[in-house]
Subunit: 154 residues, 2 copies
Amino acid sequence: MNKYMLEAINEAKINEDNNFKDGGPFGAAIVKDGKVIATSRNTVIESKDPTAHAEINVIRTAAQILETHDLSGCTLYTTCYPCPMCLSAIIWANIKEVYYGNTKKDAENIGFRDNKIYELLNNLDNNDIIKFTQIDREETIKSFEKFKNNQNLY
Amino acid sequence: MNKYMLEAINEAKINEDNNFKDGGPFGAAIVKDGKVIATSRNTVIESKDPTAHAEINVIRTAAQILETHDLSGCTLYTTCYPCPMCLSAIIWANIKEVYYGNTKKDAENIGFRDNKIYELLNNLDNNDIIKFTQIDREETIKSFEKFKNNQNLY
């Protein structure tokens, strides 16, 4: 077995061993230059945080350890193909290489909505999950205009 | 102007007023039963956390305040249409109503990759951003099988 994936699996096993009272059966590890930077697991229930998936947790932890929001050069190992939230976080973090074990279909088979969310993202204008309403753009656009005029800051 | 959107705009203005040194021009608020539960803003730079978008931050804060990962019955106000990470987080949090100001296109116009990520999510098998490799499923599936046998826990 891949030694980095083993780190991710060991995190999932922590949840398994306590009967999933902290969160679902998911673990992840972030590796840079052959070194494990951080490992984490799903803690949605224990943390009372719907965003506390294994990948989000491990990205947040690795970013704290490396003291940057930019995880360029890091590789992510995850026991399951990332949900759209985590996949997008991976992109925002500039991680470009992902090793995964279980598939989206595997996640669906044990009751998780990953596939349903992927479907919604392919059909945003006609979905039965979220009602979107646009308001007050003439006010919200002002900060965007200020930002555009300060692009040199980034 | 909508009074809840004003709360979100005021958060974006905090970043605007400090020349975006903490993060981009985004703010959000979560409301339940007419009461503002939490407000937040993008703090990616200041928090050294690539997941610290306004919506993720406000969901995490509201979940801590309400002491549950389940934000059913809450409404989200955000100064910009959510990126795919935040939109997925909204679904995981069971928020079903979203009011937004600026559009995805507006975000693209000031240099953010929201639209690019939406495109990737529509074409996962053929993308030039992330390289996915499946490994060790025979090991990672074990925790899923344990979870399936414990479905009554959830």
